[in-house]
């Protein structure tokens, strides 16, 4: 895979929607432990609506596709993850350019920056940012080092998973989990878990 076009973007979104559907109850269970038991339901509702929207109005290109997903997430999900994932896809869509590896890495990074700007979470706060930021860095580094996009995305997925796991032991400082104080330690953050699915969906496609 040398560039991300409409087809690749569609496949990524489709794959993410499938992973979310499959992991819905698990994500909600993670959110039961340290949140309000809706993360899986929220994302699944959003991604199901996003797929339906793409089917109804096929987008012109990859950027339009990501923007359509973004708008659905923002206008159909609510909660914390709706606007944050929405912002991610929106920022990514405007930075995607021709979808060449360097642009993809930069667009992903722009998406993550958007999440940080909106949510104001810092690394280590135990949020989706702790999976997304390392993924963005790994992707940028790998692409910068001349690795093919497939391999770069696999590194990114691994970095996301490591990021998610690294904060599992921590006390949450953002989102609902922060209300639990010390009791949040030892639990996987649901948003970090879903962010790993997002990056893994890309890596799996790239690899296949």
């Amino acid at each position: 895979m040398s560039a991300v076009g409409t087809e690749q973007a569609a496949a990524w979104v489709q794959a993410f929607a499938e992973r979310v559907a499959e992991q819905r109850d698990h994500l909600t269970e993670l959110d039961s432990a340290i949140g309000d038991a809706d993360h899986g339901t929220n994302l699944d509702r959003g991604m199901t609506a996003a797929l339906a929207g793409l089917q109804a109005t096929p987008p012109a290109d990859a950027a339009a596709l990501l923007k359509a997903v973004a708008m659905t997430m923002i206008s159909k999900v609510g909660g914390t993850s709706g606007p944050l994932y929405g912002t991610f896809f929106l920022r990514m869509s405007t930075a995607l350019g021709d979808g060449r590896p360097a642009e993809v890495a930069a667009a992903f990074r722009a998406g993550v920056d958007g999440v940080v700007a909106r949510g104001k979470a810092e690394p280590g706060d135990k949020t989706m940012v702790d999976a997304l930021l390392p993924a963005a860095e790994a992707l940028t580094d790998a692409v910068g080092a001349g690795e093919p996009l497939d391999a770069a995305l696999r590194s990114a997925a691994e970095a996301a998973a490591r990021g998610r796991d690294a904060v599992t032991a921590s006390v949450a400082r953002k989102g609902r989990a922060s209300y639990l104080g010390e009791r949040s330690a030892g639990h996987v953050d649901p948003g970090a878990a879903s962010a790993v699915l997002l990056v893994e969906s890309a890596a799996a496609l790239a690899g296949g």
Binding site: T28, S32, A33, I34, G35, D36, A37, D38, T41, N42, R45, I74, S75, K76, V77, G78, G79, T80, S81, G82, P83, L84, R118, G119, R173, K174, G175, R176, S178, Y179, L180, G181, R183
Partner: protein, 333 residues
């Protein structure tokens, strides 16, 4: 899961249909899931918009009406509504004097209302001021965290700011009342049982027979600590003392004392708790100017309660006594 519902995915839509049928004095925009005052927008009056995830009934839709909210946006259960809803609500209540957004301090609510305000600013000349409630002393307030949750004070604020708006006061003054209420009020909650989110299908957390959670919010989040079940007398102390420790409430015009049921607790128990809350306050030298006891801000079917104390002053008492006519709160009219 035992609930009087149809498909869990339809709970909010179904409840809004029932609410619409039960209250001809409201207008419900089912497409946008916004409950409006029938006479919105009220010309020349500051519009007040609130909203949040469903599951807290009668908050917020049940507080729409004369002397309180002009519109309320309902999200999915425990999920903040989306910006589009807030934009529709804001436009629908804009009577030319600007609109106050009352937002409980949850990341999702704050972000979605923020995006809505940006959209309103981009699309129209409507002036929007946002006041965020964060009265829950169970949560540590720190700039490095999401801060305290908005809970019981929200109900009192909607009543008091609503009365100020009904008096025809300008947006800045209404917002000042709202900020003052939030600044002078604190809450603490506890749970005997978890709630069950319909889409999740089972209790958010397990709470064995002899235990309770202290410091819960209104979204089925577990609390700060788990302790053995205790009599109402001790529960009242566990709730009132942290509030008193956080805010000096002695002297002056006393407090507005609010004992709130979380949805699965019957009124008889809330009265028992209220009797004990009064006893604790009396011992602490805190006078009570006004009382509110009932299930006004629920957490689905959670059994438990919260206590909110708001330092009263002459103006707030006048606004409290002003007429209100909503499904959930109603007096003086």
């Amino acid at each position: 899961m035992k609930k009087l519902i149809n498909d869990p995915a339809d709970v909010v839509a179904d409840a809004l249909r029932g609410m619409d049928a039960a209250h001809p004095e409201l207008q419900v925009d089912h497409e946008n899931r916004v409950v409006f005052r029938a006479d919105a927008p009220v010309r020349g009056k500051v519009g007040i918009v609130s909203g949040g995830g469903a599951g807290h009934e009668p908050m917020h839709g049940g507080f729409v009406g004369l002397g309180m909210l002009d519109a309320a946006c309902a999200g999915e259960v425990f999920t903040s509504p989306v910006p589009d809803q807030m934009v529709a609500a804001t436009q629908g209540v804009d009577g030319g004097a600007g609109v106050l957004h009352v937002v409980k301090n949850y990341t999702g609510d704050v972000i979605n209302f923020e995006m809505a305000a940006e959209l309103v600013a981009a699309e129209s000349g409507t002036e929007v001021v946002t006041v965020v409630t964060d009265d829950d002393v169970a949560v540590q307030d720190s700039t490095y965290t999401a801060g305290r949750r908005g809970v019981g004070v929200t109900v009192l604020l909607e009543k008091l700011a609503g009365a100020a708006a009904e008096e025809g006061r300008p947006l800045a003054e209404v917002a000042e009342v709202a900020r003052r209420v939030n600044g002078q009020g604190r809450s603490m909650g506890m749970a005997l049982t978890s709630c069950t989110v319909p889409a999740a299908g089972r209790p958010t957390f397990d709470l064995p027979e002899g235990e309770m959670e202290i410091g819960v919010g209104i979204h089925g989040e577990p609390g700060r600590r788990r302790v053995p079940l205790a009599p109402a007398r001790e529960v009242a102390e566990m709730l009132v003392e942290p509030v008193l420790a956080d805010l000096d409430l002695t002297g002056g015009d006393g407090v507005i004392a609010f004992v709130n049921g979380l949805g699965g607790t019957p009124l008889i128990e809330l009265y028992v708790v209220y009797a004990e809350v009064r006893a604790v306050l009396e011992k602490a030298g805190v006078g009570v100017a006004r009382s509110l006891v009932g299930s006004y801000m629920t957490s689905l079917d959670m059994a438990g309660c919260s206590v909110t104390l708001l330092r009263a002053d002459e103006e707030l008492l006048r606004l409290w006594d002003a007429p209100v006519r909503t499904p959930g709160l109603r007096w003086g009219v």
